[in-house]
């Protein structure tokens, strides 16, 4: 394809990408550098059905004048990134200079909202991505070997967890693990402990969320691997059989190498998705025990009466940086392979 044709072909899509992806990201990045104007507060008397009292109130005219001067707000540089709700550099400095050993440092850092969210997000991504891939691969192998007439229904059932809206899926599971629910009640009976609750203990909440994540995500690798299995070169497989390779050896030395490029792709997509984990935290109401970066953004924008746009913007940018860091090894590898093929 000539360069000019390529440009003409890609132009509408590039334009849409700039308009709907690049510009919003840029605006979020700009937003994250600003905080709201200083609010001019005056003390006045306010009265209502329950009597009068003195109360503070924002002097809207004075504040509006400040706003008109600087429509973007006060420039705060990286201040929002460094404050307690994000990277918390000052707090970490204090913790590192004055502590009772490693355990204390970890506990106190974990007490900071950003690191608490980051910890769960990383553990979730690190566990759900490989385990969902393994489960998906196993299901794909299984489905590939069942008689043809069962394949349709079995594939549909295997895809269900992915089709069910995450919020609904997690809510259903949340009700099931409730102490009155079928799983919760069975566990209490099984362990003979009427106080056992998957929702109260932080560890059990994490386990529940991660198991849910694997269940929900596994169908995606399953579909991709199943499609990959259909392109498996039969003659290689047959020669391996003639060479006396057993079932495991065939999987290890024929099937898996064939699927590696797909696995890279699936791993990439899963990692990005898992790093943005959000719905299960809402569905399981697990804010007290497990939060994620996406949940922090939502929480800033969904405050009782105030919305912290700068704070949400800073967390968004940090999340994007996190995704880039996570994907870096894979991206570098892909780039090298591309270069190798090109030369």
């Amino acid at each position: 394809m000539r360069h000019r044709d390529f440009a003409a072909f890609i132009l509408p899509s590039a334009f849409a990408m700039v308009l709907f992806i690049a510009l919003p990201i840029l605006s979020v990045a700009v937003q994250s550098l600003f905080v709201e104007h200083e609010q001019v507060v005056v003390t006045v008397e306010s009265c209502g059905p329950f009597g009068c009292e003195t109360q503070e109130k924002v002097d809207t005219q004075a504040t509006a004048a400040l706003r008109a001067e600087q429509p973007l707000g006060r420039f705060n540089g990286l201040g929002t990134y460094l404050n307690r709700a994000h990277l918390a550099v000052d707090e970490i400095g204090v913790i590192l200079s004055d502590n009772d050993g490693f355990g204390d440092v970890m506990a106190r850092i974990y007490n900071l909202p950003f690191y608490k969210a980051l910890a769960f997000t990383l553990v979730y991504t690190a566990l759900v991505t490989p385990l969902a891939m393994i489960l998906g691969f196993a299901v794909a192998l299984g489905v590939n070997n069942i008689p043809k007439i069962y394949k349709g229904p079995v594939i549909f059932l295997s895809l269900l967890p992915y089709i069910v809206t995450p919020l609904i899926g997690s809510l259903i599971l949340f009700w099931m693990i409730n102490s009155d629910g079928v799983i919760g009640a069975s566990l209490q009976w099984l362990f003979d402990d009427p106080e056992l609750s998957l929702k109260a203990s932080p560890t059990l909440t994490w386990v529940t969320l991660i198991v849910y994540g694997i269940w929900h995500m596994a169908p995606f690798p399953f579909v991709v691997f199943y499609a990959g299995l259909q392109t498996l070169p039969q003659d290689t497989l047959e020669s391996a059989m003639i060479d006396g390779a057993n079932r495991w050896e065939r999987i290890r030395y024929v099937v898996m190498p064939h699927l590696v490029p797909l696995a890279t792709f699936v791993g990439l997509v899963l990692m990005m998705d898992n790093f943005r984990v959000f719905e299960p935290i809402i569905g399981f109401s697990s804010e007290a025990n497990a939060t994620s970066l996406s949940w922090s953004i939502y929480n800033d924008l969904n405050g009782q009466v105030d919305q912290l746009f700068g704070s949400a913007a800073a967390t968004s940018i940090l999340t994007m940086l996190g995704v880039i860091v996570l994907l870096m090894p894979v991206l570098i590898r892909t780039w090298r392979e591309f270069n190798r093929k090109a030369h």
Partner: protein, 390 residues
């Protein structure tokens, strides 16, 4: 059946004709409100003013707090009326999005009582029509079985709960709303007000919760939390109907439920429950014609007859309203000197910080001092970003 339908239709038509316009000459009324029964009643009354060049539209949603600021910021505003409470009026005031109502009150507000006017710095900014707040719902039958008097203090409630449990009547005799987030923050606000605490340093946005009252509040919340569920609960006044409804799912429980003012705490005499009002505001960025139409329609919606015809729907603030038993709890709170939920510009940030940071303490993962320090730090970070603190 047919007769009934015809009669009903006739009544509706007659009512519609009699009230069409409510004396409004023209204009558009667009109402944004929270979604619960008592508000629905008021708004459907206001909707009766439609006709003759007057349109009345409504959007009742629990997401109203997220909608109101952007919707009223545009010019002309998307809604002419925002139905608010002590907490949700604050963002509208902070951004100067609602208009003073004094001239409208003078012209069309003859049916209003002076106590219904929410005056800030001498200007009427909202019209309140109902009071609300959390108060005690008690199972009289359970108390009797345990041989107990009605408790009036939080300490008394804990003792009663212990007796009920010891006698084997119920495993978890207490209920409270302690889900992390808004409800947890709200429990703190209620109990802290009962201890006579104040949230901020006087005249500034500096947090002031780390003192003795804060620690005592947390200790009390923990004790209540551990005591578990259900013969005694501190619940919203506007939910009375759902609990004592004779046609509800458990009428025998409704019959045995008695309502009492919220308990006091720590030997004080202030009920441990914030007082709330619900009322309406009129947007600033709309034409004077629409503002006038909206005001008249809303005043029609909250005319004294509405309260008289639906006495158990809410703790109405209107003229000539004789409070039935169902309004006892909230009125009891007010009479006993309960404090209103603070309308200060930074209370919302404080409430969010309380809801987020107290969960660790309630689960026993950190000390009360650490929890309060976390709340102050989280609040301070948010207040700095919002421009209240430097």
């Amino acid at each position: 059946m047919k007769v009934l339908t015809t009669t009903a239709l006739g009544l509706v038509l007659a009512a519609g004709m009699a009230q069409a316009g409510c004396g409004i000459e023209g204009g558009s009324v667009r109402i944004l409100a929270n979604d619960f029964d008592a508000l629905g009643l008021v708004i459907s009354e206001a909707e009766a003013c439609a006709g003759d060049g007057v349109t009345v539209e409504k959007n009742m949603t629990t997401e109203h707090k997220a909608l109101q600021v952007p919707a009223l910021t545009v010019d002309p505003a998307q809604y002419t009326v925002a139905v608010v409470a002590n907490n949700s009026i604050v963002p509208l005031l902070n951004d100067d999005l609602v208009r003073p109502l004094d001239d409208l009150v003078e012209k069309y507000g003859q049916s209003l009582q002076p106590s219904q006017l929410i005056k800030i710095d001498g200007q009427t900014m909202a019209i309140a029509f109902m009071g609300n707040g959390q108060h005690l719902f008690l199972r009289e039958d359970v108390l009797e079985e345990a041989g107990l008097e009605q408790p009036t203090t939080l300490e008394g409630i804990l003792e009663a709960a212990q007796v009920i449990r010891d006698k084997g009547i119920m495993e978890y005799p207490l209920a409270g709303a302690n889900q992390a987030g808004w409800y947890l923050g709200n429990e703190f606000v209620n109990t802290y007000l009962g201890y006579g605490g104040s949230f901020f340093e006087p005249g500034s946005a500096e947090p002031a919760i780390s003192g003795e009252a804060g620690l005592k509040t947390l200790a009390m919340m923990k004790a209540m939390y551990l005591a578990g569920d259900i013969a005694i609960i501190n619940q919203w006044g506007s939910m009375v109907n759902g609990h004592v409804d004779p046609d509800g799912p458990a009428p025998q429980i409704g019959e045995a439920t008695v309502l009492a003012a919220a308990p006091t705490v720590g030997g004080g005499d202030t009920p441990a429950a914030a007082l709330w009002w619900d009322g309406f505001t009129i947007a600033k960025n709309i034409s004077d014609e629409d503002a006038e139409a909206s005001f008249i329609a809303m005043v029609h919606g909250i005319r004294p007859e509405v309260a008289q015809q639906n006495p158990s729907a809410a703790t109405w603030l209107m003229k000539d309203f004789t409070a039935p038993d169902t309004a006892k709890g909230v009125l009891g709170n007010a009479k006993a000197g309960a404090k209103p939920y603070p309308m200060s510009p930074y209370m919302g940030l404080m409430h969010t910080a309380l809801g987020a940071e107290l969960a660790d303490f309630m689960q026993g993962k950190e000390s009360a001092e650490q929890a309060l320090a976390d709340v102050s730090a989280a609040y301070r970070t948010a207040a700095q970003e919002a421009g209240f603190l430097n």
